[in-house]
Subunit: 386 residues, 2 copies
């Protein structure tokens, strides 16, 4: 058996392993990238003897910035970061102007129409976002019927540890993605299942169901998971932010409340979203006073102007007042100081103040990025259903 | 609102879209890759003015072969395939010796420790593997306790359309991956959820639950989904093919039969696997006569020699005879003519013949590859539970 296994491994190595990093100029090249050094710095490497420039764009750098890799005499481009705080980081190489993932790193994630390579820096946030030896919930991808949109649509559902073995009902958080995202965004880029698992295990968050729908009314499912196959991914889809998704939200609520053991009262319903999903959350909640006790706007794309064509967006002030009259326990707004939507959010807070509507404001560092949204989810879920 | 949306899109474009394909030497470069032309040829492009050679490795080429891209005067390397038969294809570029995915293609899949870019050629197999407008089952990733392995472990479960709304019980197929694979392999590379959805919708396959466990006894979950974080991915793990996974299989069966509405008799249980998973299926079934009416060995890594140290692997002949005596309806073996395990499988068939054990043999073209395993799954599941 051992001999057979060795043969097997040898044959597979020929097929799979050797071509993964070939030898240039007869010298063996062992490229390990990324490597986390000293627990807080990342070393990146890229083999490209013929390239004229290799840069890295990563979300530990200043917004929009890139850093330059330096080539050694073996044609290996290298980079060592400064000390980084604990987080999940994404990056891309730019090789003579072409953006690509790190070919030595098998961990990638799609954000809208781009792929990014991943690494994690240990510490406080890794405690929240990493998979640890705690009881785990289940991530599922069911399809629900949307009579309003006249299609079957895919969504992601997190059920907490013990859900399958229990008979009790749980509170629900509806968690919405941003523009160009889809039902996979929160469970991949957002680390939502690990965050919930870890917070529930630590007793910091109540066990809850988290529903992560697809907020693009024109789409039945994420790219690669619908009948459009492997079509190019669009950032801007038709029927986005013009009221259609908000009107179709009742189909999601109906499906979840008919197919999962959920509590069906205001005290056990929360809605939150990032960017476009914050905009969706704002208007879904404002149009259904008495539906949610908890609303979370993460770097929300709110215009705060009203007067738009869809009835969903009209008379916002009156709707917000009605929402508060029906009662809510938490209206949570989070944004980064450098976010391009900072001013929009400041205007919205001014509106809330002038209407004497209570809210909790969370201002973080940095900009419109998943690093903030993972953190907001961690903070927000600890305040729910208490 | 429109003006705000335009601002929003503009800002995001700056962040996300422009850097994705930068301009070299002042000339705009629009790289579209892959593009399926005329329904059956694929055109690939890669921008690398400084590269000395760009090749493509793809599973439409002869095993182990690569094809050369040609550079045009704008530094764009190009390739046009011959006419391809309908299938899901994977490929990688080799740029001056470095293997990488196509940076213009957002659709990638991980196979063990490598990433591959994807495209689909329309036609018969796309009808099977693509997502179509049919009722969809649910893909879930629950964790089950394994008292034998002393860990919580993740698995993938496909429940057929209507499972959540029904009260009836379903037959179960246990579907195992190959060496270096994990619980995500069949649902990503194997297109298992689309295959089942499409066959069930066409009335060709009975609705069933498909359980896709992790066959690496040393692993709790797929890379990136366990507490090992983003560690390098190993092809060869400890405690592989030495009896441990086979012994732990009863923990999976117990979990599924306790937590899902499944039929619990031989007539409603099937087990199948590819390569190492075929080896696992062979021995799990042989050590539990009367457990499965259906066994599927897809390009199985069977040594067919017996005499190995673990009791699981000893006295195979006697076990196979006992298995047939307890009764099975289908013992299905599939392999490609160019598979490096062809001879092993021929020897095993000879053993089955000499023991007068019935089996169905399916010989396909080509080698040890997912193209065959998706097809075998399509053929095999149509024969189950009838």
């Amino acid at each position: 058996m051992k001999k057979f296994l060795l043969l097997l491994v040898f044959c597979w190595c020929l097929v799979l392993v050797l071509p993964a990093q070939q030898n240039i100029g007869g010298k063996p090249q062992e490229i390990h990238s990324p490597v986390v050094q000293g627990g807080c710095k990342v070393r990146l490497q890229f083999l490209a003897p013929g390239a004229k420039s290799v840069q890295v764009k990563g979300d530990w750098l200043t917004q929009g910035a890139s850093a330059t890799l330096k080539k050694n005499d073996q044609g290996v481009w290298q980079y060592l970061s400064d000390s980084l705080t604990s987080d999940l980081y994404t990056y891309q190489f730019v090789v003579d102007g072409v953006t690509m993932v790190d070919p030595s790193n098998v961990y990638v994630v799609r954000d809208v129409s781009s792929l990014y390579s991943l690494f994690m820096i240990p510490g406080a946030r890794e405690e929240n976002y990493g998979v640890h030896d705690v009881p785990h919930g289940t991530l599922s991808y069911p399809w629900y019927p949307s009579p309003f949109l006249k299609m079957k649509r895919r969504l992601a559902v997190y059920t907490p540890p013990g859900y399958e073995q229990s008979t009790k009902s749980y509170p629900v958080l509806y968690l919405l993605h941003g523009m160009g995202g889809d039902e996979t965004a929160w469970s991949t880029l957002g680390s939502s299942t690990a965050i919930l698992d870890n917070l529930i295990a630590a007793g910091k968050t109540r066990p809850m169901i988290v529903v992560m729908p697809n907020g693009n009314a024109a789409q039945s499912a994420a790219p690669g998971h619908s009948s459009t196959g492997f079509a190019p991914v669009s950032f801007m889809l038709p029927h986005t932010m013009e009221g259609t998704f908000e009107k179709s939200f009742k189909d999601i609520l109906t499906y979840i409340e008919s197919n999962y053991r959920v509590k069906k009262d205001k005290a056990d319903r929360a809605i939150a979203g990032l960017s476009m999903g914050g905009f969706h959350s704002l208007y879904i909640a404002a149009n259904a006073p008495g539906m949610f006790d908890y609303v979370g706007l993460f770097s929300p794309a709110i215009s705060a102007r009203g007067g738009d064509s869809s009835a969903i967006y009209q008379n916002l002030d009156r709707k917000l007042i009605a929402e508060q009259k029906a009662g809510y326990k938490l209206y949570w707004i989070g944004i980064g100081k450098q976010d391009f939507l900072y001013k929009e959010v400041a205007d919205f807070r001014q509106k809330m103040d002038s209407l004497h509507l209570p809210y909790t404001y969370h201002e973080s560092e940095r900009w419109h990025m998943w690093s903030n949204w993972r953190d907001y989810l961690t903070v927000f879920t600890q305040k729910l259903f208490k």
